[in-house]
């Protein structure tokens, strides 16, 4: 499974980015840089991660730093699916 691509598709669908996520690299900042990502929208991202990747994410496991960039989010997902 290509985790980075999975994560980008989840971001695109959950946040309604209309394909913009396909141009993201691991260095692309997320929190603060994306108008679509806020404290309400993050719930949709987490739900979709759970649904598509079959992982369970506890509120205690994540914070703003998890969503600092594509790279930090991919890193987090890798620890969950490992």
């Amino acid at each position: 499974m290509d985790i980075k691509n999975e994560v980008l598709e989840i971001l695109d669908d959950a946040l309604g980015l209309n394909g913009r996520a396909q141009a993201f690299s691991l260095e692309t900042p997320l929190l603060g840089a994306l108008p679509e990502l806020d404290s309400m929208a993050v719930v949709a991202v987490i739900n979709l991660m759970e649904e598509r990747l079959g992982v369970y994410v506890d509120d205690d496991e994540i914070d703003g730093a998890t969503f600092a960039s594509v790279g930090t989010l991919v890193g987090f997902v890798q620890t969950k699916v490992a």
């Binding site: 946040l15 309604g16 603060g32 840089a33 108008p35 404290s39 914070d63 703003g64």
Partner: protein, 525 residues
């Protein structure tokens, strides 16, 4: 004593140049650092030809450059327009066009979203970009934040009666309106708040809320007025806020009801009482169970319950000592404001008689930019002006119904218009409805607010469609997410095959629709 917005920083730098003024992640600026950043940026703005009174919009997340750009606009005799970082390009376009923004400051991550927007803004001449990467835009010049030249700033030509900022806010109809604030509005607002919160240079104030919101901007202005430190965060999870309070040894925390509700449901670490001195609520009523839970989690912090609207910044606060005696009260007028409760004919109400809240004093803003009609509805001659004074004084008529008890404490009763108040934001029903006009298969659409235990109100969309099914609902929500900022997206869509109810004027009766969904979220806590 500082009179202009940027002088709040410059004066504190005179008194204590080495004190910490601004903190964001690993970055920390002293008052001397912040002053020189503001001066350098202001002189760069001037170098780009920005003239006195011209508008500089700032569309980026909270970060050091955001604060510097706002105060530099003031130091350059220009006017700053903070744009909520959650807005979509369509709403940013409305703001840029509505007040003829001359210069836009944004980030490299965001500028790509604006490629088609800038071409539609004839007044926009320059875009200044924070972040590294080469960008060109059609029709406007691009400047780099990192390449701001060193320059000497000449003294301000403006006085405190001149405009300093335009903050965009929604009403009950139409697109957001720009509330024009003078330097005096902002500086005196900071002074009133610092007085009742008893802020000092020892404070470390967390800036959680957007700077496009007068309440959020005030954490910064109050900090700089007293020489305290403002700590910026862009939070995603409520836990981020608690972690920042602990890590940064925060003394004052300001939030809105939806965030307080989330915070009240989390575990709080021990020891925050060593530094956390007070917390404030505005932007909606704090539910009593939430207040109780927060006081348990922060027993040493004093709660300040407040009320305000952007047009007059802040009107009332309830002194912490009164919270147990009158937990449902909005309190009394803030320092240097008078709050009246008036009848429809302008006469002052008797004790406990419901009437409209009217705010007079130094916080009353300069009106809505370029909109004399809606300004005349909200800004009217202050009641009780002695007949011998031939010039009018304008007061803000809030549209909120309140009562005042015999002891002078105010109580909120309800709103007179159809504006939706969700997540601490004002949302106009028509802003949401507009997105769905012309949508295939939909005949009528109305957006209303339904009471919601977390959000205050949730946006509910009621539509008449020829064939309603779940797929249509999903497409509507998708369309809203595409075009609207997150906080405006409806929480629920209700489809009807019959026409929506009308009021006697033949318009869709939003009031009746709102009543019909009043219990929709009664169990959703």
């Amino acid at each position: 004593m500082g009179r202009l917005l940027h002088e709040l920083v410059f004066d504190s730098a005179q008194r204590s140049p080495d004190a910490e003024a601004l903190k964001y992640r690993q970055e920390s600026l002293t008052y001397a650092d912040l002053t020189s950043e503001i001066q350098r940026t202001a002189s760069a703005f001037r170098g780009l030809g920005v003239a006195r009174g011209e508008r500089i919009a700032v569309w980026m997340e909270k970060r050091v450059e955001t604060v510097v750009a706002l105060f530099a606009a003031s130091a350059a005799d220009a006017v700053f327009v903070p744009v909520n970082p959650l807005l979509k390009p369509e709403q940013v376009l409305h703001i840029l066009r509505d007040c003829d923004v001359r210069l836009l400051v944004t980030t490299i991550e965001r500028v790509g979203l604006l490629a088609s927007v800038v071409a539609q803004c004839p007044a926009l001449k320059d875009v200044m970009i924070v972040g590294d990467a080469d960008v060109t835009l059609d029709d406007v010049a691009v400047a780099r934040w990192s390449a701001r030249p060193e320059g000497v700033l000449r003294d301000s030509q403006v006085i405190d009666a001149d405009m300093a900022a335009i903050l965009y806010t929604s009403g009950s109809t139409g697109k957001p309106k720009g509330v024009v604030l003078s330097h005096r509005n902002i500086v005196e607002g900071a002074r009133s708040v610092a007085e009742y919160l008893e802020n000092t240079s020892e404070d470390r104030i967390l800036s959680v809320l957007p700077l496009s919101f007068d309440y959020g901007l005030n954490q910064i202005t109050t900090s700089f007025l007293v020489g305290a430190c403002a700590v910026l965060i862009n939070y995603l999870m409520p836990r981020d806020v608690i972690n920042a309070v602990r890590k940064e040894r925060i003394t004052g925390l300001a939030a809105v009801p939806p965030l307080w509700i989330q915070l009240s449901q989390l575990e709080w670490p021990e020891g925050l009482d060593d530094h956390l001195r007070y917390f404030t609520n505005s932007g909606g009523h704090m539910p009593r169970p939430t207040l109780g839970a927060l006081r348990q989690r922060m027993p040493g912090a004093r709660p300040y319950l407040m009320y305000g609207l952007t047009e007059a910044f802040r009107s009332t606060y309830l002194p912490p000592d009164e919270v147990d005696r009158r937990p449902d009260s909005m309190g009394k007028a803030i320092p240097n404001a008078e709050i009246l409760v008036v009848r429809a004919d302008g006469a002052v109400c008797d004790p406990d008689e419901p009437g409209e809240l009217v705010h007079r004093g130094v916080h009353v803003s300069m009106g809505y930019w370029n909109d004399s009609v809606r300004t005349a509805e909200r800004f009217k001659p202050a009641p009780g002006r002695p007949g011998g004074i031939p010039t009018p004084e304008l007061a803000v008529f809030s549209g909120d119904t309140v009562r005042c008890d015999a002891d002078g404490f105010l109580y909120f009763i309800g709103r007179q218009d159809e504006m939706i108040k969700t997540s601490g934001y004002r949302v106009s029903p028509t802003e949401v409805e507009e997105v769905l006009y012309g949508f295939d298969g939909i005949h009528e659409v109305a957006a209303v607010g339904a009471p919601h235990p977390m959000l205050g109100q949730a946006v509910v969309l009621i539509i008449m469609a020829s064939s309603a099914d779940e797929a249509l609902e999903a497409r509507l929500i998708q369309a809203c997410r595409q075009h609207l900022p997150v906080f405006m997206v409806p929480a629920k869509v209700i489809c009807s095959e019959s026409p929506l109810p009308r009021n006697p004027n033949g318009k869709v009766d939003r009031k009746r629709l709102a009543d019909s969904v009043a219990d929709l979220f009664a169990d959703a806590s």
